[in-house]
């Protein structure tokens, strides 16, 4: 599995560039390359549904981010609240790394998953649902209410964006 290591190193490099570069538009393009790397990683890890989904979602969010940050550049300094900010960053990183270390000792080794309920899905998914794609069988049949709730979350987000971005009532004074 050398290719997944290479893809992850590429993603980490692009993420560091996206965090540290001064120009906002370059930063947005770098985060797009992180998303494309994630899509390649899904393809290597045998998840073609997620590869298609991640690629398409990445293109849409990249277009909207470029529209949002176009010609709005500003230099960012790190003058104010320097001490508090640094201590908060170090504290949260230590908390996260401790939790990650504890989780890493208890997790199963890479490449040998413990199949719990998904053994039932793999064995009987074909004759119970008739769908040859097991992921589609799970999202549309076994856990279809989950999928409906996901659509409701999307609808709530659209309603919220329309409420935030409306023009009536905001521009009345100016």
């Amino acid at each position: 599995m050398i290719e997944i290591h290479l893809i992850l190193l590429f993603m980490i490099t692009a993420a560091v560039i996206a965090v540290e570069v001064k120009d906002l538009l370059s930063s947005v393009v770098a985060i797009g390359s992180v998303g494309i790397g994630l899509s390649l990683a899904f393809l290597v890890l045998k998840a073609p549904d997620l590869a298609i989904m991640q690629l398409v979602v990445e293109i849409l969010s990249l277009i909207i981010l470029v529209r949002a940050t176009m010609r709005k550049d500003l230099p960012f300094s790190i003058s104010g609240r320097w001490v508090f900010n640094t201590f908060a960053t170090i504290f949260f990183l230590i908390v996260f790394l401790t939790a990650a270390y504890i989780a890493l000792k208890n997790i199963q080794s890479f490449g040998n998953p413990v199949l719990g309920i998904s053994k039932t899905y793999i064995d009987k998914g074909m004759e119970m649902t008739g769908a040859s794609n097991v992921v589609a069988a799970i999202t549309l049949n076994f856990r279809s209410l989950d999928s409906l709730g996901e659509a409701m979350a999307l609808l709530t987000s659209v309603i919220g964006i329309l409420a935030v971005a409306r023009r009536i009532g905001y521009n009345k004074r100016s």
């Binding site: 549904d49 298609i52 176009m70 008739g130 794609n133 659509a151 409701m152 609808l155 987000s157």
Partner: protein
């Protein structure tokens, strides 16, 4: 063409011609991805985002007047509402424990499991996602336009 006044909006002539040629194929590909999700990789959400990207494609190439004339915002709201109501109907069928309303409304030969799950849910997901994403994009572009006017 009679679009000399609008030739200034949007991108160049090459981009407009290529957009006009490839638009139908992108729409068709999105619908194919959404409808064949149970047999091959894909699904309702990926297909919906591809359909929304084709509308975004029109909007980037031709400017916002042409895109909004072709797909009015009232129609977007109407399709989102209809799809949400169909979802509500599916949930009510599931909770009532059977497929009784399906057999009242449609022919008895349709198997209700297949009808409910593998055609209706991806179609509604596709309509909700595409209409929602395009509405979001239009709202954000209009927001940035007012920002540019304010400066």
């Amino acid at each position: 063409m009679n679009m000399h006044a609008k030739e200034e909006k949007g991108m160049t002539l090459i981009v407009k011609t290529v957009t006009r040629l490839t638009l139908g194929f992108i729409l068709l590909y999105g619908i194919y991805i959404a409808l064949s999700g149970h047999a091959s990789p894909g699904g309702g959400f990926a297909g919906g985002v591809i359909v929304a990207l084709s509308f975004v494609h029109i909007m980037l190439a031709f400017g916002k007047e042409v895109a909004l004339k072709r797909l009015h915002s009232n129609m977007l709201r109407f399709s989102i509402g209809i799809s949400a109501l169909v979802f509500l109907y599916i949930v009510m069928v599931k909770f009532s424990g059977g497929c009784m309303p399906v057999n009242v409304f449609f022919a008895r030969s349709i198997s209700c499991e297949i009808f409910n799950n593998e055609v209706t849910i991806p179609l509604c997901q596709m309509v909700i996602v595409s209409a929602g994403m395009f509405t979001t994009f239009v709202a954000l572009v209009l927001l940035s336009k007012t920002d540019k006017d304010a400066e």
